[in-house]
């Protein structure tokens, strides 16, 4: 089970950052195909997001799975809400639903 400190760290992260992507590796050096696809999708959506490399923090790697009751990585959060993993992000991106969600939630795009 996740210790309270880890749970709190996650809660704060997703509350204080509009978009958070828990992934394996970093956007420039993803360590897993699904994480690579997830960060690629966010790049194509042109939104600023906070990447969290779960490989660098074992407590977060397990804690995030308990936090969302979701067994895999990557995990996307928008305005504190769990949106889904790589499959759901892909489906939503292809249907335009993800872009709509980001716009509805007032997430600023990167395009200056």
């Amino acid at each position: 089970m996740t210790d309270a400190n880890t749970h709190e760290r996650i809660r704060l992260d997703v509350q204080t950052n509009d978009v958070v992507l828990y992934m394996k590796g970093t956007p420039d050096f993803p360590q897993c195909g699904f994480s690579a696809r997830a960060s690629q999708i966010l790049r194509m959506c042109n939104v600023k997001y906070k990447p969290v490399d779960v490989l660098a923090d074992a407590a977060i790697r397990q804690g995030i799975k308990d936090f969302s009751n979701w067994p895999t990585i990557p995990q996307l959060y928008v305005k504190g809400e769990f949106v889904g993993g790589s499959d759901i992000m892909t489906e939503m991106y292809q249907s335009g639903e993800l872009q709509q969600l980001l716009a509805d939630k007032g997430v600023a795009t990167d395009a200056a």
């Binding site: 799975k65 009751n69 979701w70 067994p71 895999t72 949106v83 889904g84 993993g85 499959d87 489906e91």
Partner: protein, 77 residues
């Protein structure tokens, strides 16, 4: 430790008896599958909830024994 497709299908159907399940072994290594699951039990549920129902059916295998399951779910009926 790979997991046979038949076990995945059996576990999903045990939890969702009406489910129509199609599974593709993406890499032939028993570790990377794509699965489509249709079930009336998904009606009215969000995608996240639908996927969580399938993960629950796999009783903790997801993310451990089963490394990758590309999942598509649809409500049936």
């Amino acid at each position: 430790m790979p997991m046979p497709a038949a076990d995945i299908e059996a576990m999903i159907k045990a939890a969702l008896p009406d489910a129509e399940v199609t599974i593709d072994d993406l890499r032939g290594d028993g570790d990377h599958y794509a699965a489509t699951v249709l079930s009336a039990a998904f009606a009215g549920k969000t995608r996240v909830q639908q996927h969580q129902m399938v993960y629950a059916a796999l009783k903790g295998k997801m993310g451990g024994t089963l490394h990758a399951l590309q999942l598509t779910t649809k409500a049936k009926g």
